[in-house]
């Protein structure tokens, strides 16, 4: 079992070193993530946010706009994650009256 775990960790390292060499370098400005348009011609979300967030929501902090508006559903889920943890702690530790 222990050997198996060593094997898992070792293959994890090998995979990730192999993969990281293909990633865009640190700070590269035209990484796929930062482009205007994806390879298929659809708009890349992140650039859209940078361009439009201020005019769309009159809020300078782009991160806030993405968090609460563009991807508001994620944030609802996020709030529910915290709440789930809260209720779960009560469920696990709570005392029967």
């Amino acid at each position: 079992m222990r050997v198996f775990t060593y094997l898992v960790v070792a293959s994890f390292v090998a995979l990730l070193v192999y993969a990281s060499l293909g990633l865009p370098g640190r700070g590269e400005v035209d990484a796929p993530l930062h482009r205007e348009e994806s390879i298929a011609g659809t708009p890349v979300a992140a650039t859209f946010y940078t361009r439009k967030a201020f005019s769309d929501a009159a809020t300078p902090n782009f991160v806030t706009v993405i968090l609460a508006d563009y991807r508001g559903f994620d944030t609802l889920g996020e709030t529910l994650v915290v709440l789930t943890a809260g209720i779960a702690c009560l469920l696990i530790l709570g005392r029967a009256p």
């Binding site: 769309d56 009159a58 902090n61 991160v63 609460a68 944030t75 709030t79």
Partner: protein, 147 residues
Amino acid sequence: MGASRSVIVVLVSRLVAPLIQIFSFYVIFHGHYSPGGGFQGGALLAASILLLRLTCGREESQKNFRSDLGLMLGPLGAMTFLVVGLIMISGGSFLDYQHTPLLRLEPAQMRSFAILIVEVAIGLAVMATLISIFDNLSAPSRKEDSS
């Protein structure tokens, strides 16, 4: 959990807690203009209460925030978020702030305003839930109670 025996610790934390709370309101409400927002502010609010819980003791700090409020304000905050989303359904889709009813502003302003409400709701939910988690984690077990 007992209170700290040192007067200095108690006094300083009583002094610092309101300051943390003011700062956390700043973080929540200034989240439109600088790094910050509901989660960060809510965590800070929770920290101020947890500081009192740690230094003044569990019973004493109930005056500041009752333990049973935790699991009421948490769902209430999340519910506010949900309801804010749902009232937009009348005009557009869920969470589409530009269709806020009863509010006649230009769409961008409306979004900005709704984002603020949502951030406050998140702050409330996060604060209450984090305190509730801490209270549950630090509650004495039945065995320790009886002994």
